[in-house]
């Protein structure tokens, strides 16, 4: 896969503060890439740099090997689906989608066939003459996508396109977007702050924080092998505990020694241990590697969420069996479930 978009040392500042600090990133062709990070971390800004709406104060943007840093938005082979769709309210669905094609002075017949085809792809056949303002959120969403895709961009940028939709619709649209990307066979760059969404849809996830990239990788890598505590806690719920790497394959935390599958750390190196709540087995107190007292039990449908206090640390455990609050339980953690990271600040 070739690089299609490449950011090199991008610095963007607003009001004297750097929102992006020398961000570098390569995006491969035909991938579904997701920028994930908390609010204000610079995801939208990165997208706008690619789209051409923000000029970086230093650094370069390459598209297909060419430097496009100074190219205005309307000359880039990139289209954007804006956060709140930004549909043109004075145009109907058809005209919204046809907007970009008309600018290219395309033949009316060709426009017609392409627009109709695209509306069919996004499942809005028969909606051509409708006013965009009367559409539901999901439908507006799809018009916005069609409006971008109909221009056959090499890259489609999507800024939290599902942010305003309710849960059910959101899940549906996630699948549909993924399907679309595969059908059109182009690159999608997608912004979200919802980690579930990122995992569900992406080929590559870029985790950001404060204008820096924390980790780039496939959803499975990111979930199972977070590079630092921030990534671990941002992607799903985690128990993160300070520990000491006694030797290869052996780590001490929570006052106990555990076998693990990691090695290559220095002797007695201070580390952080990540354990996913669903990876902790609840056993009778005497059988547990650790014992703790159940503080709170919340029914979550698929499982119970328990908060268990053990030596001053509150563990989160997901289990299909509920224990009673106040009960003393044992916890077992298999070697595979223990993930070790070098300790970082914050």
């Amino acid at each position: 896969m070739s690089k299609i978009v490449s950011l090199q040392n991008i610095v963007v500042g607003f009001d004297g503060e750097n929102v992006l600090n020398g961000l570098s990133l390569d995006i491969h062709d035909k991938e579904f890439v997701t920028f994930l990070g908390p609010s204000g971390c610079g995801k939208t800004t990165t997208l706008r740099v690619i789209g051409g709406f923000v000029q970086p104060s230093s650094g370069n943007v390459f598209f297909d090997g060419q430097d496009i840093t100074n190219l205005p938005p309307y000359k880039r082979q990139v289209n954007t689906v804006f956060q709140k769709y930004a549909l043109f309210p004075h145009l109907n669905v058809y005209e919204n989608v046809a907007f970009g094609l008309r600018l290219k002075k395309m033949d009316e017949k060709e426009i017609r066939s392409r627009v109709l085809e695209m509306l069919e792809v996004v499942g809005l056949k028969g909606f051509e003459r409708r006013d965009t303002t009367n559409l539901s959120g999901g439908q507006q969403q799809r018009v916005a996508i069609a409006r971008g895709l109909v221009n056959h961009p090499r890259v489609l940028l999507l800024d939290e396109p599902l942010g305003a939709l309710d849960l059910k619709l959101r899940k549906e649209m996630q699948l549909e977007l993924k399907r679309l990307q595969q059908a059109m066979n182009i690159t999608f760059i997608y912004v979200t702050h919802d980690q579930e969404e990122a995992l569900t849809m992406s080929d590559t996830v870029v985790v950001m924080k404060d204008g820096n990239i924390q980790q780039i990788g496939s959803p499975i890598d990111i979930y199972n092998e977070p590079e630092n505590a921030f990534v671990a806690s941002f992607i799903g719920e985690s128990n993160i505990i300070d520990g000491i790497m006694l030797r290869d394959f052996c780590v001490e935390f929570a006052g106990n020694e555990f076998t693990c599958v990691d090695k290559g750390f220095a002797h007695n190196e201070l580390v952080q241990v990540v354990i996913r709540p669903e990876d902790i087995q609840v056993v009778p107190a005497i059988q547990g590697q650790l014992t703790g007292v159940v503080k709170e039990v919340i029914f979550k449908g698929v499982h119970y969420e328990m908060r268990v206090e053990q030596a001053g640390y509150e563990w989160i455990i997901h289990s299909t069996q509920a224990s009673a609050p106040g009960e003393l339980i044992g916890m077992c953690i298999g070697p595979d479930e223990i993930h070790i990271m070098t300790r970082t600040e914050g």
């Binding site: 051409g52 709406f53 309307y74 289209n79 409708r130 009367n134 221009n151």
Partner: protein, 286 residues
């Protein structure tokens, strides 16, 4: 129970207020069909005032002038105002505040002051021009200023002046609230900034612009005081009517008003009906 009483009370109240608003108009319309010239006694039905209206050149000329001035003034004011709104939106907050405050003056100043002050400006101009033209020590190439300016030009200027602020106050907030992303989306889809303005921003502002235009039209057609001071030898419809109200309003004027009222009502009803029909059509399609 109580809620129903309230609803009934509300209906009665609205009825009262609207009849208050419409009683004088109804009187005017009824007496446009009055046989005699009396304004208080209906003596019989006739259409003769409508007929004679068609032959009353004074009224028709005044009406024509009013319409021409109103359309021109509203058009120029709208263009000027829209341009100004866009320009102002790019300025600093403080500058904006100053400009808004000054623009506010014609709105909050009594009309008579606006009228008088404009007239005085024109008079000062006339005096300056006169001085230039008649003073032998002024070089000849400076003697081009016309002295007889009162008339259509001054009338138009006056009307534009009091219309522009209404345009700005209608358009500027809409512009400010408009989603920037709409403009960016247009760029994104391949518009250059100029195209983006005409294809997206302008249509988006259109309702506000249209209502600003209508407002200007209304004010301009109805304006009496400001026109009175700046019309020169011309007569707009309100001025003609004013000179009549000092004697006796000819029922022809009632006839004219009735025609205008009906025309406006029709325009409104038709546009409403069209709108609701297209709306319903949309509904049906859903």
């Amino acid at each position: 129970m109580k809620k129903q009483h309230l609803a009934a009370l509300q209906k009665v109240y609205l009825c009262l207020i609207f009849s208050f608003l419409y009683v004088p108009i109804a009187v005017m319309m009824v007496f446009s069909f009055n046989e005699s010239k009396s304004r208080t006694l209906f003596t019989g039905f006739t259409l003769k005032w409508y007929q004679s209206l068609l032959h009353n050149e004074m009224i028709l000329e005044a009406l024509w002038l009013s319409l021409v001035v109103a359309f021109l003034a509203a058009t120029v004011a709208t263009i000027l105002g829209v341009m100004a709104s866009i320009g102002i939106s790019g300025m600093k907050k403080r500058t904006q505040g100053v400009i808004n405050t000054v623009s506010y003056l014609p709105v909050v100043n009594p009309e008579i002051i606006t009228g008088v002050s404009l007239m005085m400006l024109f008079v000062v101009y006339v005096n300056v021009a006169h001085w230039l033209n008649s003073n032998p020590s002024v070089p000849g190439f400076l003697k081009f200023l016309p002295e007889n300016i009162f008339g259509f030009g001054t009338l138009l200027i006056a009307h534009i002046t009091f219309c522009v602020p209404y345009v700005i106050f209608n358009v500027a907030p809409k512009l400010r609230r408009m989603d920037v992303r709409m403009y960016e989306a247009a760029l994104d889809l391949g518009c250059n900034p100029r195209q983006a303005f005409f294809k997206v921003v302008l249509p988006e502002l259109m309702p506000a612009i249209l209502s600003a235009f209508l407002i200007s039209l209304t004010y301009s057609i109805d304006d009496f005081i400001i026109s009175y001071f700046s019309c020169g030898t011309l007569q707009t419809l309100p001025i003609a009517i004013y000179s009549m109200t000092r004697k006796k309003v000819s029922p022809e004027i009632n006839a004219l008003s009735t025609i205008m009222f009906v025309a406006i009502l029709c325009i409104i009803l038709v546009s409403n009906a069209l709108e609701s029909r297209s709306y319903r059509k949309k509904r049906i399609k859903e």
